[in-house]
Symmetry: C2
Subunit: 500 residues, 2 copies
């Protein structure tokens, strides 16, 4: 077969695999949003079948042959060409998929299902001991997996590479060390100012239907294409990309906490704008896919934190908010409202953390999962190590394991090497935002005037439309002129949060 | 391979094909209920892929080999055994699927898509002429299809067999001739009494949310398992069986017409109870599937008409209805309410027809589609033939084709031989209901006491749990002791509708 024909066939298989994955995603979305309880077993069978069909395609030896025919041909001579990118990325996926022995794939799926079940029960009963053997087993399998993938320096690299291709443990260690050194004193300096009790701004009742209307309305104004998407209430906020013209956001609101629900809308909308900004002509191939979890998270965090908490944003939207919620906000100034929204208060729960302390939660998990993976920490000793790091970095000690190492589902599902992408997202977001501010800003002034399309279009042009053409750090460097660098994040946080 | 191993493999393939079909059904359901508009093209690609994968399995030559190995073995010696039924039905499907040349399958899909598009536009503009060539083409292809399937006496048999296995044109002609001979005079005798203007009972406003609450509440009381199902608002009422534990009902309500929305709920619930009554252990094999469209329709029509319009039913439910809708029903007696609900008024539109005239609409379509299929009627001449039959059987003439031959989507989609199953459903329902009344009745008294489980459980035991073990007429004969016979339907209608 000629390289051209092989490439065409590669694209066809890639599209078909993606279509199957998108059917799997609908099954998943529906299970969370629509499916009646009793449908769970049947749904499991549907999902297993579709996942199996997708896996068969992804590991088909014919794929290896096709890749071999195209690689080295003139078709992929330019490494930034569509063909070269698609071949490079499918080769990467194919090699990863085929490196894992089937026995290990099945064992990982089996243990993950049972381990997350055990985690859920352990958390409900605050019984870490019952979960510890599953955690131990999960990290054992993760070690096996990393060894099957292979690595040159750190074993953790092999896992991290799944979520943030090209990123290394050494780079992360550097980044996080620098970040931690600046965040710990910043949090300390804010500790006093933020210990005040709940202010008037968040004390009232925010009716759910009006929150929905307001928040979804804002997302549409910021650019979420509602003709090609929808909003639902879900058990937790998430964004599902089903395919071109179909991006769905699930949300959760709380009557007594407007900010939490609203910021989640902006967060998921950030993910959604990325997906809606991908080129539909490249759907089903790497050129039509997001770069990495970290870059994805940079989009959600930017809209959530750098836009949605900003002064300009609320100068524009606060009057509308106030008229939607007269009762609770009648006597609350925009400044008081923003102060309350942006309060820094070290806590024990990552998902409830403010923007400043959040990254310390992630850094703690990064340090612990590396130690667990390398065997330097036994699962049984996790609670002690957890408490020690929370004391050191956040000055707090969890009263029990539900407030400690049982709070996140990730490890129980085998997601190891995933947490750092949250903080990478924050770091990338700050770098990108600073660049955009320089190139098309001042952004705050635009926000205050209700102009959000300049930032959105800038992101489309700089990030979204490239698909997987560049690796994350390469894309950041191309766009910002700088390599991975936490100083923009620190500068931004210090500027906005430094005690007056 | 031994017959036992071959049978196991047959079941595995059958389950997998059904699972794929159920994924297709979710894609379809979601497209009607949830999908954003812009997702339509991507959805088409997902559906085509899954349909193709299901088709590959259904026509895999290996299936023919496996069937061959099991057939004639001792495993299927007892023709009513699970194994024999599953093999018999999969053989039937396999033979049908493989008799159609791929070219014809593709042509049918292509023409159906374009023809239903043309139908929709023709209906919108009342422009039959623009649709006529598509209708002609559709019937040409239907002829080809029938010839590919093969038949012994009537060509129509080959198409009918798809929806009502084992039923013949000769049987239908007999049945419908008898039915028509009795319905036409019955309708005539009721014509005067029913020409009164809209009564008070349906003149008020019925708020949609309260209709939903009441109607869905009734469906659950009658036995719809809500733990294994859900209700949605949809563009039209329908019931989707996704798999064990997942049966979904879509509904549409009208503020100014309570009965229409409510009876549709009971209708779809009748379908749903059938699906929920199938044995989940046989899921994915014929023993876990409904007998035919006619038997399916007998379940929906029974709950809609024979239960939901009955005096006993409303003796029980009317007080609740009245308190849910005080405003419109305050001064309406249960008798006046029922009179209005059961008014007989010959009309031009099938889906708006009352219970008595409904079957005449179906008989007209049966006569016309046979003539079109046999080439005795040209598509271009349909409007004239249509008007002629409506005048003859219902005493009405459509003022235009939107009120005439452009009202139904069926033919444009290639569904020929489908309409009769609606009336078969009514005939089966009346026969089954009369038998149940004899065996566990009087049912009306039970309904009046709020007891609906006896009928539901009787249907489960007599109909639902058997899957495809028996052909439709065989099942009716086993259950009622009589072959297909319209007299129960005529007796029931005459009893309930005869002028006092």
């Amino acid at each position: 077969m000629t390289p051209e024909k092989s490439y065409e066939e590669l694209v066809r298989i890639s599209r078909e695999t993606t279509l199957l994955a998108s059917c799997h995603q609908l099954l998943q979305w529906d299970a969370e949003i629509c499916m009646p309880r009793a449908g769970v077993q049947h749904r499991g069978e549907q999902m297993a079948l579709i996942a199996g069909l997708a896996h068969d395609r992804a590991t088909d030896p014919r794929l290896g042959d096709l890749l071999g025919t195209v690689e080295g041909s003139s078709l992929v001579a330019d490494p930034e060409s569509v063909e070269a990118v698609n071949v490079r990325e499918r080769r990467r996926d194919y090699d990863r998929e085929t490196k894992l022995p089937r026995r290990l794939v099945e064992e990982l799926a089996r243990v993950s299902a049972m381990s997350s079940q055990a985690w859920s029960e352990a958390r409900d009963h605050d019984d870490f001991a019952s979960f510890a053997p599953w955690l131990e087993k999960t990290f054992e399998l993760a070690r096996e997996k990393a060894d099957a993938y292979g690595y040159t320096s750190a074993r953790y690299d092999a896992l991290l590479d799944e979520y943030e291709p090209g990123m290394t443990t050494a780079q992360l260690t550097d980044l996080f060390t620098g970040l931690r050194a600046q965040l710990v004193p910043l949090v300390d300096s804010l500790r006093d100012s933020s210990s005040e009790s709940k202010s008037e701004a968040s004390a009232g009742e925010f009716p759910l239907d009006r929150q929905r209307k307001f928040s979804e309305g804002v997302a549409v104004k910021l650019g979420f294409d509602i003709e090609g998407g929808r909003f639902d209430l879900g058990p937790h906020p998430f964004c599902t990309f089903l395919g071109p013209g179909d991006v769905r956001i699930a949300l959760r609101y709380h009557t007594d906490n407007f900010s939490s629900g609203f910021l989640a809308v902006l967060h998921e909308m950030g993910h959604a704008l990325y997906e809606q900004g991908l080129d539909p002509a490249h759907y089903g191939t790497p050129m039509g896919e997001a770069v990495s979890l970290g870059i994805h998270e940079s989009q959600s965090r930017m809209w959530e934190n750098l836009v949605g908490r900003s002064e300009g944003f609320w100068r524009h939207f606060y009057p509308q908010l106030q008229s939607a919620f007269r009762e609770p906000l009648m006597n609350v100034s925009v400044d008081a409202f923003r102060r309350e929204m942006n309060v820094v208060r070290p806590g024990l729960i990552r998902v409830e953390a403010d923007e400043v302390t959040y990254n310390l939660h992630v850094i703690i998990r990064f340090e612990l999962e590396r130690a667990l993976l390398d065997g330097d920490l036994r699962a049984a000793d996790l609670p002690g190590a957890w408490a020690e790091l929370y004391r050191k970095y956040l000055g707090l000690t969890p009263a029990n394991d539900r407030l400690g190492s049982l709070q996140d589902i990730h490890w129980s599902e085998g997601l190891i090497g995933y947490f750092p992408t949250y903080t990478l997202g924050n770091v990338y977001a700050a770098q990108l935002f600073a660049t955009a501010d320089r190139e098309i800003g001042p952004l705050e002034e635009k926000f205050a005037a209700g102009e959000f399309s300049p930032l959105r279009e800038w992101l489309r042009e700089k990030i979204h439309c490239h698909g997987k053409r560049y690796r994350a750090t390469q894309l950041i460097e191309r766009t910002t002129g700088k390599s991975l660098d936490p100083s923009a994040l620190i500068a931004n946080l210090s500027h906005r949060y430094a005690p007056a």
